[in-house]
């Protein structure tokens, strides 16, 4: 079973990376860019076959390791098949 975890910075938390990318896109000639925020993305393959159990495990992992909950939020998606 496959899980996808999106980790994004909480609102208002400074995102130096996003800021730099915004600037770079501008100097590459892209216009009308209002903001860029960068986050992380994880794909985890699990032996677990029960979606509920998988979700619970992934949630645990996200809290413990994948996301720094002091400054980041995370969202989990489970692939049924």
């Amino acid at each position: 079973m496959k899980a996808r975890i999106k980790v994004t910075l909480k609102n208002g938390v400074l995102d130096p990376q996003g800021k730099a990318i915004e600037g770079a896109l501008g100097s590459l000639g892209f216009s009308g860019i209002e903001s860029v925020r960068q986050g992380k993305f994880f794909e985890v393959e699990l032996a677990e076959t029960d979606p509920a159990k998988a979700r619970a495990a992934i949630d645990e992992m996200s809290k413990k390791l994948l996301a720094n909950t002091v400054i980041e939020n995370y969202a989990v998606e489970i692939d049924e098949q």
Partner: protein
């Protein structure tokens, strides 16, 4: 008219860390109820971190002047003359609470803050060091904090481009809930191009430079002085994120701007950013300040005056500019891609006035906010004098060699390589002695001068006897600088203590300052900058008193420096200074015999002997007579000798001439001692020279082979010692899940 939106309740006052009597003082000062913004401003200016209200009285007792001191405490950093029209500018500052809450960003922004303090004065940073204190290794949070703090310090300094060349690390249960991250930075400037924060001239533009303002770290300053309770989790969202890239741009832009002659006064935005910097600049210059917050570059929508005044967004500066040069100044900042905005002006009415959307949000007397903030004379009880421990009272081990190997692998004694290999200690190409020696040494651009740096304190000594412990911290710094051949110039300090409202904690503080002051006076070692961090407690448990000392020394010629590594076989190993086998508060007593919190006295510090022995060793180094030098500290002679052997990859056989029990001789921590090596043929003449100057010197061994042997005892292989010494920290960190 001031719109007074929010009622100021006693709860709100308490939430801002202000005591009822302090709030009363505010009411008396302004003759009306403050606005919420004003309350925030007072809480920021009057908290411990910015006002030094509990410590000022005692800081005044420190010696802060000397022939080389250009600027002592009171500015962003201390300034010391190193000749040839050059000055070294340095300071140490804590970021303890933020680092406990978010280790990586807390430590990173701590480094960013101290670097700013240094380049705000016109200096290009040339060295960074850090003094770190973590909880016991087995505590569930310790590994996470170690890995985050180290990565944060490295991540910031490496990207900014300053060599991180030294520091110190301890583990102790008293730091379980309150780690200490003390960051030191030093920079070079020309003595005629130093910049200060005192605003000069009425009606001049106040310019905001650097990154945009967001809601970062609002109440960070209040947090940094608030004792941690169970709710510290809730304080989390106030943590700031460091942006070393912007800091590097800010450095280059500021130095370019300063060179252009446009800068009249400059102050970095540190704790309580805009508030502290604007008030400090005005108050110091005897001027008022007017801020129009609508002009402040913001990162987020709809920020209130309160939020803007308390934001601790990083990588920002405030300047008073020569109006004639405003355009050139702006051009420089545009070139470096940084924000630049005129946000206010200086006035002659000594008021601090802040407006937002046309409303006056704050109108306060600037002096009382700034240099006339409240001051306390807190009650204290002196720590009881500990009892001396007789050498005979400490049992001898069956196998000294086994004990040595154990000691070399202790958390407090093992190699810190795992940490400093994550720091770029080579950048700038001037590193002469990197991490791992007694003091770090850099070449002053193009030489021949060199500068030496060391951070030291032995918290366990300070806990047992604050006065001796304070003296010892200064003496050990002085000794470390001497051991590389440097002339000790001046110190900065970072005084980390528990809750000063507790008389016994205040007693530790007062005692340590007394010791520090006495030592600095005796060694002509003035205190030119520093920082106080109080309330380092969690749920009422205080940390060990930890007055970290950071010291700077000067080498006239960096080529004439000494290092700890044995250089050749068959050289004479000599101990300088008297060995009395003092085991009170020693590593041996604490970690081998197992007496933590033991009440015995730490080794006494005789400052006269320190100076006499040190001056002799320095003279011999500069005369080129010594091949290796190492000061004797934690762990005593045997550990010092082992460290020299491991560093040089050459063994040693030790033949102590002593009537002391061997373990007292080997592990005693008597002060004012050094181990030195030199060619066999020169040993006797050297010892004679020492005796002439009244300096005790005794031959204790000969270098050679690949083992350390003690008086015919079982030889210990260098490889075995190295494995023990290098192995602990990497193994400990690998055992955890940290990334």
């Amino acid at each position: 008219m001031i719109p007074n939106d929010v009622r100021i309740t006693p709860e709100l006052v308490a939430e801002h860390g202000l005591k009822p009597d302090e709030y009363q003082r505010i009411l008396d000062l302004i003759g009306r109820e403050p606005t919420l913004t004003e309350l925030g401003i007072f809480s920021a200016m009057w908290n411990e971190h910015c006002s030094y209200k509990s410590s000022k009285k005692w800081l005044r007792t420190l010696p802060t002047t000397g022939p080389r001191v250009i600027c002592g405490p009171g500015e962003n950093a201390g300034v010391v003359d190193i000749g040839d029209g050059q000055a070294i500018i340095f300071k140490m500052e804590s970021h303890n609470h933020p680092s406990y809450i978010e280790p990586h960003e807390g430590a990173a922004t701590g480094v960013g803050g101290i670097l700013r303090d240094v380049f705000t004065m016109g200096a290009r940073p040339v060295a960074a060091l850090n003094a770190l204190r973590f909880g016991e290794p087995d505590h569930p949070r310790t590994r996470h904090i170690v890995s985050g703090v180290v990565a944060g310090i490295g991540g910031y300094g490496n990207s900014f481009g300053v060599p991180t060349i030294g520091g110190e690390v301890n583990f102790d249960p008293s730091y379980n809930g309150n780690c200490l991250v003390n960051a030191f930075a030093a920079g070079l400037a020309d003595t005629d191009k130093i910049f200060y924060s005192e605003a000069k001239g009425v009606g001049l533009p106040l310019v905001y430079l650097g990154s945009k303002t967001g809601r970062d770290g609002i109440h960070g300053a209040t947090m940094a002085s608030a004792e941690f309770g169970e709710d510290s989790e809730e304080k989390r969202p106030t943590v700031q994120i460091g942006d070393p890239f912007s800091e590097k741009l800010l450095l280059e832009a500021c130095l370019e701007l300063m060179a252009s002659g446009a800068v009249i006064a400059i102050q970095d935005m540190g704790a309580a950013g805009l508030t502290c910097s604007a008030v400090e600049m005005g108050a110091k210059g005897g001027l008022g300040v007017e801020l129009d917050l609508d002009k402040v570059p913001c990162r987020e929508e709809g920020m209130t005056a309160y939020e803007m005044m308390l934001s601790e967004s990083q990588e920002r500066m405030l300047m008073v500019l020569d109006p004639a040069r405003e355009k050139d100044a702006e051009a420089i900042f545009v070139k470096w891609g940084l924000d630049f905005a005129v946000v206010g002006k200086t006035t002659d009415d000594l008021r601090f006035r802040v407006s937002r959307h046309g409303d006056i949000m704050a109108d306060l007397p600037i002096k009382e906010l700034g240099d006339q903030a409240p001051e306390y004379d807190r009650p204290f009880v002196k720590t009881a004098k500990p009892k001396q421990l007789a050498p005979a009272d400490v049992a001898a081990p069956n196998d000294l060699g086994e004990v040595l190997t154990k000691i070399l692998a202790l958390p407090d004694m093992c190699s810190r390589r795992w940490i400093w290999e994550q720091y770029d200690h080579l950048i700038q190409g001037n590193t002469a002695i990197g991490p791992g020696g007694d003091a770090a040494v850099i070449r002053v651009e193009n030489g021949p001068k060199g500068l030496a740096f060391s951070l030291d304190v032995s918290p366990r000594y300070c806990a047992a006897d604050p006065v001796e412990g304070g003296k010892q911290a200064v003496a050990e710094c002085w000794r470390n600088l001497t051991a590389v051949g440097a002339e000790p110039l001046a110190v900065t300090d970072n005084l980390n203590f528990g809750n000063p409202e507790k008389p016994e904690i205040m007693g530790q503080f007062v005692g340590c300052i007394e010791g520090i002051g006495e030592a600095c006076r005796a060694l002509d070692f003035p205190v030119v900058s520093g920082n106080v961090s109080l309330y380092n407690e969690t749920n009422g448990k205080g940390i060990l008193p930890t007055p970290a000392i950071g010291a700077v020394g000067l080498l006239p010629d960096y080529e004439k420096r000494a290092t700890i590594a044995f250089k050749a076989e068959k050289e004479a190993l000599i101990v300088i200074g008297e060995t009395k086998g003092h085991l009170g508060q020693s590593i041996y007593l604490r970690d081998i015999v197992g007496k933590r919190d033991d009440a015995s006295a730490p080794p006494p510090v005789d400052l006269g002997l320190e100076r006499r022995n040190g001056d002799f060793v320095r003279g011999e180094i500069r005369a080129g007579n010594l091949t290796a030098v190492h000061d004797v500290s934690d762990g005593g002679i045997l550990v010092a000798a082992a460290e020299m052997a491991m560093a040089g990859g050459i063994g040693v056989s030790l033949k102590p001439q002593t009537d002391l029990p061997l373990h007292c001789w080997a592990f005693g921590e008597d002060q004012a001692r050094y181990l030195v090596t030199l060619a066999e043929a020169e040993a006797d003449a050297f010892i004679a020279r020492a005796r002439e100057t009244g300096v005790p010197a005794a031959r204790i061994g000969t270098t050679g082979g690949h083992e350390l042997t003690l008086d015919g005892g079982v030889p210990i292989s260098l490889t075995g010692m190295k494995e023990a010494h290098e192995g602990w920290l990497p193994a400990y960190m690998a055992a955890g899940a940290e990334l």
